[in-house]
Amino acid sequence: MEAVIIVFYIAAVTAVSLLPTWLIGVWGKSRRKRLGRDARRLLLSHVPVSVQSTRDFPADIDTTAGMTLVEGSCVISPDAWQGFLAAFPSVLGGSIESYAEGWRVAREVAVGRMTAEASRLGYNHVVNVRIQQVNLNHHDTSKGKGAFAVLVYGTACRTRSS
């Protein structure tokens, strides 16, 4: 009988202490969704820019239009609930889907910013795109903890077809 009470007590305490974290997680998820939606809206707000990671210029490139380096970046941080979920695969192995989602959104945003800049300058093609991901975490201090940055850059040019 006592054992049942103790187990019940432990379960109740765990549930209550995790509740705020879970609520933050729900809020964080909706914020990430909004960020993704904003990224897609950004992509739709300008003339489509084709993006390729190969270094070859398109065959119908307009050499009179010039070319330049364009960049976009996004720094994103996982929320407390994601951190909690990540603790399980860290011990047992497996993929940490909660983190993967954040990275994906950050990349979408960064690419969107890069193509928006290319489009603003009048280009419709970005070649040789490089995606770089940096962990802003530092082992000595807690400053910048958990934040990761996505940096996207490429060469903007223009094709004759459009």
Partner: protein, 136 residues
């Protein structure tokens, strides 16, 4: 399209960002050939936000989402690093930097180092009337 004008209609004698140098991360520039190679040029900068911003970013770490202060920091740092790379290329007499790479590292919490490097070269239009009237 007139030669010497970029798609936005700005003159490119100074190019679209007020740079007199072509900056690309590809190895070639169509319509141009490399006539002289100066070697690697680089520019770097280390940036940090003040402590208040760091504390706010720490709170963001609990609720998640984009940390726009750090995004801004990264954007500024990148711009500065590229500008420094360009000025050292110009000091050599180059009119283009090819194969530009950006490298980032965290030197301390909340501070980011950004380094831009590439190969400074002199480009020349392949034939008369080719190119975009770009670097002079």
């Amino acid at each position: 399209m007139e030669s010497g004008v970029n798609p936005s209609g700005q003159a490119v004698a100074l190019n679209e960002r007020g740079r007199a140098v072509i900056i690309v991360n590809t190895e070639t520039v169509p319509g141009y050939r490399v006539v002289r190679v100066f070697g690697v040029v680089e520019g770097n900068t280390v940036r940090a936000k003040h402590i208040g911003r760091d504390i706010l970013a720490g709170l963001k770490n609990i609720v998640g989402g984009e940390i726009s202060d750090y995004t801004e920091l990264l954007t500024d740092a990148r711009r500065t690093a590229v500008e420094r790379m360009i000025s050292s290329a110009q000091a050599m007499g180059a009119n283009a930097v090819l194969n530009v790479r950006l490298a980032t590292s965290t030197v301390a919490g909340g501070a980011a180092e950004l380094m831009a490097y590439g190969t400074a070269v002199v480009l020349e239009p392949e034939h008369q009337g080719a190119g975009w009237g770009g670097p002079t």
